[in-house]
């Protein structure tokens, strides 16, 4: 019985130290949420609306970056029933629409089977591909593309 109490007490102590330690590390690094220092009751005003860059395609920042979308997409339906992106970007429609064809990697199922339609695991385009916007980074960072490092 006493061992039980000791183990529990030790457990609580370790947990408390870990929590305090982690908050201190957190505070030292100065990590903030996107709200910054504002409290919950404080309003910060709406963020700036960044105009979408239409027409000219942005280059990729790194090799594996999913290409950005150089046009508006907000009224396109992408759900369980339909994906209107495919109307132009799926083969063979892309030829007539003169639109970039979806990469062949998107026609392979998670188990490696080649498919005739876009794989279900790639169905929701805007999980990776987003409309391009010329704006500040949400979080300041020192990212450098590997191709710029040589």
């Amino acid at each position: 019985m006493k061992t039980w109490i000791k183990i529990t007490a030790a457990g609580i102590a370790v947990f408390a130290i870990a929590v305090i330690g982690s908050t201190q590390v957190y505070a030292q690094d100065g990590v903030k949420s996107l709200r910054g220092d504002a409290t919950l009751s404080e309003g910060q005003g709406a963020p700036d609306i960044n105009a979408q860059q239409v027409g000219k395609r942005f280059t990729r920042n790194y090799r594996q970056q999913p290409p950005l979308i150089p046009h508006k997409i907000e009224k396109y339906e992408i759900d369980l029933k339909a994906n209107q992106c495919l109307g132009c970007h799926d083969w063979p429609q892309n030829v007539e629409a003169n639109a970039p064809k979806i990469s062949e990697t998107h026609y392979v199922s998670p188990t490696g089977i080649r498919l005739n339609r876009v794989s279900g695991s790639r169905w929701f385009c805007n999980q990776c591909h987003v409309p391009q916007v010329q704006t500040e980074a949400l979080v300041p960072n020192t990212f450098t593309s590997s191709s710029d490092m040589n």
Partner: protein, 212 residues
């Protein structure tokens, strides 16, 4: 039996006789002026109640409309946009010209019937029927050369210069090929139905895994 029959015929007969007999009590002017104003009241009342059924507020009193298509439509450009101009349900789904409007209103009695039968009274039932319902609307819009779209949209006044390149190209192509709005613009105000894989005239945008 024969007595009541006689009474009925005599009542109808009296009505008929009364209608056929020229009146001796009222002046011609009274009848004409009275008839004229009664006409205004009746015709006005008819038109007023007809127009009452031609409002969005009336459409969404049916939960089939309110919970499915109306909710979807609120996400689209015809509900919310830069300039605040809206196209409500009847703007697209009821013709403006009187003859076509009356024909559509008579057709709507079928919709009333199915409302009371509960044909599409749940989301699941609605989704199951959506392809058929959508095809009906697409067919009508194709036949009328997208008449209701063209109440507002007109190729003549489209400024292709301010359009995005991809829409400019497509619209010029549409004029050349004598196409109509609904040929391309399916599912702009409501969600596309499940199972549109291989439906004529629609690019392959359906989910082949849906329903499997």
């Amino acid at each position: 039996m024969s007595a009541s029959n006689e009474e009925q015929t005599s009542f109808l007969g009296r009505m008929w006789k009364g209608l056929r007999r020229p009146t001796a009590r009222y002046a011609m002017g009274t009848l004409l002026v009275g008839g004229f104003f009664a006409g205004i009241v009746f015709w006005g009342g008819f038109n007023w109640s007809l127009e009452l059924t031609n409002t969005e507020a009336f459409c969404v009193t049916c939960h089939e409309m309110n919970d499915n298509v109306y909710r979807e439509y609120k996400q689209t450009v015809h509900y919310s946009n830069r300039t605040g101009v809206r196209a409500t349900c009847p703007d697209c789904h009821v013709p403006k010209t009187w003859v076509h409007k009356m024909a559509r209103k008579i057709q709507a009695s079928n919709e009333l019937l199915h409302h009371f039968l509960g044909t599409i009274d749940t989301r699941e039932k609605y989704e199951a029927k959506r392809l058929k319902l959508a095809k009906n609307v697409w067919k009508v819009m194709k036949e009328t050369d997208s008449r209701e779209c063209r109440n507002c949209h007109n190729f003549e006044y489209m400024d292709f210069v301010v359009q995005e390149k991809r829409s400019r190209n497509r619209h010029e192509e549409a004029i050349d090929k004598n196409m109509t709005c609904i040929d391309c613009h399916k599912g702009i105000a409501h969600e596309l139905p499940a199972g549109i894989v291989g439906v004529d005239g629609i690019p392959n945008v359906g989910n082949p895994n849906m329903g499997k």
